[in-house]
Amino acid sequence: MFKEKARIMDEAAIKRALSRIAHEIIEHNKGARDVVLIGIKQGGVHLAMRIAQVIESIEGTPPSVGALDITFYRDDLSTRPKVEASLTDIQFDINEKVVVLVDDVLYTGRSTRAAMDAIFDFGRPSKIQLAVLIDRGHRELPIRADYVGKNLPTSLKENIEVSLIEDGDNDSVILREEV
């Protein structure tokens, strides 16, 4: 059982964070011409769409957005209970592009590792960068995010829940604690 401990972000805070991330992506890459966004399923896809909208409003053209399912690339695939796969949807060429992976929460880094492996099966991007809404710490691999909405040091007993309007909830980030 997890009980709510704190409301970390509301709709306005999420909007501001994603808007800042979009600006940073443009600044860091000196424009968005070669940038493509790929959301990691399930949490990152809607966030990637929103960041793409902000980039379009600044640069005039929208970056390509894709969705990546990492089920088959998980390092715990053969030891944990079966996971149903969902659809990967990348309808564009990623060769020589700057691929910005988008996820909701960065935790152990294992999902990011799996996502990078998956990306290399689609081509050879010139760069891979990582954008996350929340970085909660506790990395188990040498991975860091290039763009962070909010750094939130957590304990291992805690859990972060990101809810989005696209999934039928209100936009919110809630910190829960195991009781």
């Binding site: 089920t71 088959f72 209970p81 659809l87 998956a118 099966d121 689609f122």
Partner: protein, 309 residues
């Protein structure tokens, strides 16, 4: 959700929910075959044995490609090149394969029930890739996926299956699968090729193809097994073609959005004319493409992932 059994022996053993799960997962696997690098590490380190004791090109190749695209190791054993040709019994062959730590055995056999026999003997999973005149479950699954892909539903879809129902495991598996998913089946063919009491499986019977076609969403032409001709079950191939062959005139009786299907290999000019096989309504090549994806989903659901907790 997961499959309940370690084996896929027939459509009969699957629930509606399990069929829906396999069809749903197939979508994710179909995408993999469209990539430049058509391979994911989902079954890395697993060993699959293709034990094909009856001739087959497309089913064996399809299973082999499915396994390889999931990074499993595959060994092919055929009847003529194995110790089976030296008279080894199926039981001994199976025990030998298990001792080599296979995770899954895919079997095609001319005897109905051979996969069931194996499944009882072996701790590893067994998949039926066609047994005698009994079942060919993965063919039915890929056919259902193909129909659903075009109509976005199976409930209420009207499927006419034409030809040699009596000797067809493809027909049996399809009748079972379509019924479970709420589609309706009408069988069309010469009376000698329609087994008695098959209506009890839940299908209608007709001997007049022309009257069935305007109502059908799917026309499924079965292969006429030419070796059956010797048994004199129908007077001549020419008569069969005249009465039950899918030709251009019959294809025009179909609605524009109806599908023409065939499990292959086709006898062009007998159960289907070359002209009809190449019509836009014909989804024969889609069936082959979807076959790999359905088998990938099935292999993943059977031996992918860890232990059930």
């Amino acid at each position: 959700m997961e499959l309940k059994s370690k084996d896929l022996l027939g459509i009969k053993e699957l629930s509606k929910e399990e069929i829906a799960l396999i069809l749903d997962q197939t979508k994710s696997f179909k995408e993999i075959s469209t990539r430049t690098i058509k391979k994911v590490p989902a079954l890395r380190g697993r060993t699959i044995i293709n034990l094909f004791l009856e001739p087959s090109t497309r089913t064996r190749t399809s299973f082999e490609l499915a396994a390889k695209r999931l990074s499993a190791d595959v060994v092919n054993i055929s009847g003529t090149t194995s110790a089976v040709a030296k008279g080894e019994s199926l039981k001994d062959t199976a025990k030998t394969l298990e001792a080599m730590n296979a995770d899954l055995v895919i079997i095609r056999h001319s005897a109905s029930g051979a996969p069931h026999f194996l499944a009882k003997l072996l701790r590893c999973g067994v998949v039926n890739a066609g047994d005698g005149t009994h079942e060919h479950p993965t063919q039915a699954l890929l056919d259902l996926f193909t129909i659903n892909e075009k109509f976005n539903r199976l409930e209420g879809v009207k499927v006419a299956i034409i030809g040699d129902i009596a000797h067809s495991r493809v027909a049996r598996s399809n009748i079972l699968a379509l019924n479970k998913m709420g589609a309706s089946v009408i069988l069309v063919g010469p009376p000698t090729l329609i087994p008695p009491e098959i209506e009890e499986m839940g299908c209608e019977i007709s001997y007049d193809l022309d009257s069935v076609l305007p109502e059908a969403d799917v026309v499924y032409a079965l292969r006429i097994q030419l070796e059956r001709q010797k048994e004199s079950l129908f007077p001549s191939l020419r008569e069969y073609t005249t009465l039950f062959g899918m030709n251009k005139r019959r294809a025009e009786l179909l609605r524009k959005d109806s599908l023409i299907m065939h499990p292959g290999p086709m006898n062009r000019g007998i159960e289907i004319t070359a002209e009809v096989a190449d019509l836009p309504q014909s989804v024969v090549t889609n069936q082959v493409e979807n076959g790999v994806a359905v088998r990938m989903a099935l292999l993943y659901l059977l031996i992918g992932g860890g232990e059930v907790v």
